[in-house]
Symmetry: C2
Subunit: 192 residues, 2 copies
Amino acid sequence: MDNLITHFNQYLPLNELEVEALGIRVIEKTIKRRQFILNKGDTCRHYSFVSSGLLRKYAIDKNGCEFNIQFATENQWIQDLGSFNNNTPSQFYIEAIEPSILFQLDKNSLLYLLQNFPKFDRNFRVIMENKFINLENRIFQNISLSAEEGYKKFLNEYPELYNRLPNTQIASYLGITPEFLSKVRRNISLKD
Amino acid sequence: MDNLITHFNQYLPLNELEVEALGIRVIEKTIKRRQFILNKGDTCRHYSFVSSGLLRKYAIDKNGCEFNIQFATENQWIQDLGSFNNNTPSQFYIEAIEPSILFQLDKNSLLYLLQNFPKFDRNFRVIMENKFINLENRIFQNISLSAEEGYKKFLNEYPELYNRLPNTQIASYLGITPEFLSKVRRNISLKD
DNA sequence: AATTTATCTTAACTTAGTTTAAGAAAATTT
DNA sequence: AAATTTTCTTAAACTAAGTTAAGATAAATT
């Protein structure tokens, strides 16, 4: 559970009491490649912190095409917050791309921590703010950049993901077809 | 300041102490149409709560095109969170589309409230979460929907904005040109 | 009320991205 | 190691969206 503690310590560091309260509530979960921790239609019951591995959250549009909303690697949180908060059926799937180890908090545990230790409110607020800032940048990039520019930016921003993801997953994150990404990549390589 | 109080009361209601602490720190600001409360390159110094009116946050890409990142109407917050939190130059502009009345909190005031009343951590956490959920949906729509579908969805989700915004602002939010939006609108009206 | 400025539409043309299909290369599973 | 499945590439035909330019409408300012 070390990297979860370290993660929180980046913000307002936890004291012993808080570490203990967290430790007895967190559940470690090992999942295999291709395993789903959330299916469309189900209610999201856990916050999941990725200790190791790689997952993706995606949705399927009315034509059956998948679109990646988020990748989560080491030390990142992944969940469907809307579904979790409102107990509503999720529109998303969350699937492991690599075998992964998660630390999960269910709703009761999270509420307990939030209600008894204000520091968790603080820390999750700041964590959320950072995720929000990233998403706003992504929106801007998405509406303003061409496919080629967006792909280059992705490689620049997430170089470690390039080796871990098939291009088809990157295409789905950018909102373009794999065939067109192939064309884009060919174009880029011709330029050099 | 009533609607700011009401806004917070939707989450964890404020007690008298908290209302007072908030009240003496909030600054009311009246701004005219076309007035900017944030310019690119400046550091964002305030959280702004829209009491009345309408503002937009936008960025300009390398070709000089504007892209709307957010509209904020009555009872919504608007700021550049990245710039505010990290004291870094903003990449965004925030401009009033209608004459507006804002309630602003500067950094010291906000920090005071957060440090002395944990409820503000809680409330801003939940406010942030809701904004995050909306943004994730917007990302999904943006990468999965055609311009026509996106425009219809926008009208459905924000019917009150339709009468208050020129189409060119909606186009900029959707990430399409005003000319193409015109074409889309004509297409829609021909179908009925 | 008159003037200026911003917005909306149309059309012809160009470009970016999609679709379909098929084969090659790589990675996973057996 | 062989078989299967997934991923990647290419190409031709197509469609969605952008560009440029110009005139029409509407809204804001003086």
